[in-house]
Symmetry: C2
Subunit: 413 residues, 2 copies
C-alpha cells in the first residue's frame, strides 16, 4: 500500500475514532494489551531477528539494548495500554463556553487532531505507547519506526491492530509506515492527509523533521539543562539537586548537562561538588576557573557548553553574577528545564521570569519535569517549542478544539 | 540593517516586553495611538504616494481601496490601539497549578512567544493592528508588509515606534521588515530568531508561507464555508441565514460560498431562495438539479465547489441526504465555518460531531465566527489549522506557557 493510501485509510479510521465513546476506546486499549501478551512469542522472535541483525551490523551495545525486548518489557507495554484506559478522555471536554447577547450559545470543545504521524528511532516500546496515546485521544496513528526495528514493529503492530479490531474499531487506526527515505519525505509533505507530526528521538532526527516538514510538527525535547548555584544558596540543597539531576538517569532529556556556580559560592561549593561528582563517576568538563578547584576536571573544549551529553559528563563554569548566568543560559539552553538554587527571593523571581524554557525550577530537581511526575499518567514527549504545547505533553495536548455555535435563526446586523 | 540584525534586536526587545507590566504596555498602546494621530499628515502623504504608484501600475480598484487611508481610517487604527489597552493582559495568567505529593509546587503560566513575524498584504491597517496585538501580548513584532504599501507602512511604523519609546519600552518592539523576496525567505527560515509566523492575506500568500517556512506557522483563514439546509428545516431561518452569510459582507473569510439543499427541501426552498438571492444581486452557480428551479442559475463549472469567491457569487447543489452533505463538505471545506439549518436534533448532533472545522453552527449565521462577535475584543486572524489555536485568535492565543516549579530541595527517588 502506498503512503497516500495508508494516510487515506488513516483519515477514514480517524472519522470513526473521533466519535467513538470513551468506553469503546478503553475496551480497545484493553484488547490491545491482551493481544500484545498473546503475541509474545511472535514479537520476541521478530525482535531477536532485529537484534541479531543489529549486532551483525556492529551497532553500539547501548543501542542494541534499546532495541531489545523481553517478556518484562512486553508486559510493561501492555500495562501502559491498560493504564491509558484508566485515564480521563480529553475528547468532548468543554474548554469554555458562553451565551452571546443575541442568544447564540458558543462552546469550545476538545476534538482529536485526526491523523498523527510519529517518526521515531529504534525503541520498539514507542510503537505501543504512541499507538495507545493516539487511540485514547481519538487520533489515528501512522507509526514510522526505524528500519532497525522493522520486524519487531511489524509483529507489535499486527498484534495491536488485532486488539483494535476485536473491540470494534477500525484496524487502520494503527498503521506501521514501511519503506525507504522517500516514504519519510512523503509523510513530512502530507499536508491535508496528516494533521500533526511528532518526531521522537535524538536531536538529528528532530531537526530533520522540523526543517523538512510541511505538516505542522510538535518538536519534542532535546535538553541541554542548566543548574545555577546562586551566591545565596543552601549548599546541601544544591549538592542534592546536582547529583540527582545529573546521575539519577543521565540518558534522559531532563537530566542535567551544565553546572554554573556564582563566583562567591565557588570556593566553598565547588570543592565539595567536584568531589561528590567524582565519587558518583561523573567527568566534569570545566573552564580554568573550575579547574582551579580540582585536578580531576577535564578542560572544557570549544562547544562543550552546547553538548547534550546524556552520559555521566557535566560541563561547568563559574559566573560573576546572575546576569552572566542568565546570559549563559540564553546562549546555550535548548529551552527544556532550567534550575536555580537560591535562598534569595529576588533571584528566584528574576530567574523564573527571565529564563525562556518549558520549565524553570527553583530548589527542585529538573528530573521532576516529566508527565508521570506531573501526574499526567501518560506522555508522548516533552515539547520544547512554544506553539500548542510546551513541556510534558499528555492526552489533552494530543487534541485540538472546535467551536460549536447553537442558535435559533440569529443573523449578524 | 540585515534581517538577522533586525531579528536580534527584536529578541532583545522581546526580553523587555516579556517582563513589562500591563500598566507599561497599556501606556505604550495609548502613546502609539497618539503618535499615530500626530503623524496623520505624514501618513496620508506617504499613503497618497503608494496609492498613486498602485494606480499607475494599473492595480484593480478594489485593491487600491484596501490600500487607501483617510483620516477616518487612521482614527480607527488609533481607536483599535486604545481598545487593546482596555483588554485583560494574558501574560502571567496561571492556566493551572497544583502541589505535587512531595511538596513541589507547579504552576503553568502564560508567557509571550517572544518574536512574532507577520507577513501580510496591502492593507496598511494591519500594521497598527498587528503591532498593537503583539505589544499587548508581550511579543516583539516583525512586520513584513507588501511593497505596494511600503511608504504608508514606513510612516505608520515610524509613528508607532515613537509611541512605544515615549512610554519607555524599546522601539525595536515594533519593526518594519523591508527588502526583496530574499528577506521573506530569510524570515521564513529564521528558526531560533523568530518564534512564530502569522501570514495574513489571500490563499496564495498563506500557502506560500505554510509550505516554505521552517519557523512554526499559524495558518489563518481561507474560508470555503457551507450552509446545509436539511430536510427538516425552518425555511424562514434558512433564508435569513443564507442571505446574511452570503451578502452581509461577502469579502470576508466567514462569508458563505456554497449552499447545499436536501432533495426533500429543494422543491419548496430553492425557488424562494433563488429568487431572494437574485434580488440581492447574487449569482448562483448551480448543478443541473439546481438549474431546474431557475433560469438565472449559471451552470457550475469544474472546480466551482472549491472556489472561495469573496464576491456576490454562490455555488449550489442538491444532495440526497445528510451523508452526501457531509461527504461534500469533507471534500471541499477549508475547515473554517460550516452551518446546518435543521429542526432535527439527531441531524444537528451528527453535523456538529462529524464536520471537521474551526466552527460548526446550527441555525446561526457563519458571520458570527469572529473575535469581535465572540467578545474577544481583538483578533489577529481566524486560525484554520488544528495546532495551538483554532478559530478566532485573540490575545491569549498570542501566548505560550511555561511551567514554574518551586521546591525546597526535593530530588527524584
Amino acid at each position: 500500500m502506498s503512503f497516500a493510501d495508508q494516510a487515506t485509510a488513516a483519515q477514514d479510521a480517524a472519522r470513526s475514532l473521533a466519535t467513538a465513546s470513551r468506553a469503546l476506546k478503553d475496551a480497545s486499549l484493553h484488547a490491545m494489551a491482551e493481544a500484545l501478551l498473546d503475541a509474545r512469542t511472535e514479537v520476541l522472535a521478530a525482535n531477536a531477528a532485529d537484534v541479531a541483525r543489529a549486532q551483525e551490523a556492529g551497532t553500539a551495545p547501548a543501542l542494541v539494548d534499546r532495541l531489545r525486548l523481553d517478556a518484562q518489557r512486553i508486559a510493561a507495554m501492555a500495562d501502559g495500554l491498560r493504564q491509558l484506559a484508566g485515564l480521563a478522555d480529553p475528547v468532548g471536554d468543554v474548554v469554555r463556553g458562553w451565551t452571546n447577547p443575541n442568544g447564540v450559545q458558543v462552546r469550545q470543545v476538545r476534538v482529536p487532531f485526526g491523523v498523527v504521524g510519529i517518526i521515531y528511532e529504534a525503541r520498539p516500546n514507542v510503537t505501543a505507547d504512541a499507538a495507545g496515546i493516539c487511540l485514547k485521544s481519538g487520533n489515528a496513528a501512522l507509526l514510522r519506526g526505524s528500519s532497525s526495528a522493522l520486524e519487531s514493529n511489524r509483529a507489535l503492530v499486527t498484534a495491536l491492530r488485532a486488539g483494535v479490531t476485536r473491540a470494534g474499531l477500525p484496524a487502520d487506526a494503527v498503521q506501521l509506515v514501511e519503506g525507504g527515505r522517500e516514504v519519510t519525505a512523503a509523510m513530512m509533505a502530507a499536508r491535508g492527509l496528516v494533521d500533526v507530526l511528532i518526531p521522537r528521538g535524538g536531536a538529528g532526527l528532530i531537526n530533520a523533521v522540523v526543517e523538512g516538514a510541511k505538516v505542522p510538527v510538535i518538536e519534542t525535547g532535546t535538553g541541554n539543562c542548566h543548574l545555577y548555584v546562586d551566591a545565596a544558596a543552601d549548599h546541601d540543597v544544591a549538592l542534592a539537586l546536582l547529583l540527582n539531576a545529573k546521575t539519577q538517569r543521565p540518558s534522559v532529556c531532563n537530566a542535567l548537562e551544565t553546572l554554573l556556580v556564582h563566583a562567591d559560592a565557588a570556593p566553598t561549593f565547588l570543592p565539595r561538588a567536584l568531589q561528590a561528582l567524582a565519587e558518583a563517576g561523573v567527568t566534569v568538563h570545566g573552564t580554568p576557573a573550575v579547574q582551579e578547584f580540582s585536578a580531576a576536571v577535564v578542560p572544557a573544549t570549544e562547544g562543550e557548553f552546547d553538548a547534550e551529553y546524556l552520559t555521566l559528563d557535566l560541563a561547568c563554569d563559574v559566573v560573576p553574577d546572575l546576569d552572566a548566568a542568565l546570559r549563559h543560559i540564553r546562549a546555550h539552553s535548548t529551552g527544556h528545564s532550567e534550575t536555580v538554587v537560591t535562598t534569595n527571593l529576588a533571584v528566584a523571581e528574576r530567574f523564573t521570569a527571565e529564563v525562556d524554557a518549558a520549565a524553570v525550577l527553583v530548589n527542585a530537581s529538573s528530573r521532576f519535569v516529566d508527565g508521570g511526575e506531573f501526574g499526567f499518567g501518560a506522555e508522548i514527549g516533552i515539547s520544547t517549542q512554544k506553539l500548542h504545547a510546551r513541556g510534558p505533553m499528555a492526552l489533552p495536548e494530543m487534541t485540538s478544539t472546535k467551536y460549536v455555535l447553537i442558535g435559533s435563526g440569529q443573523v449578524r446586523g
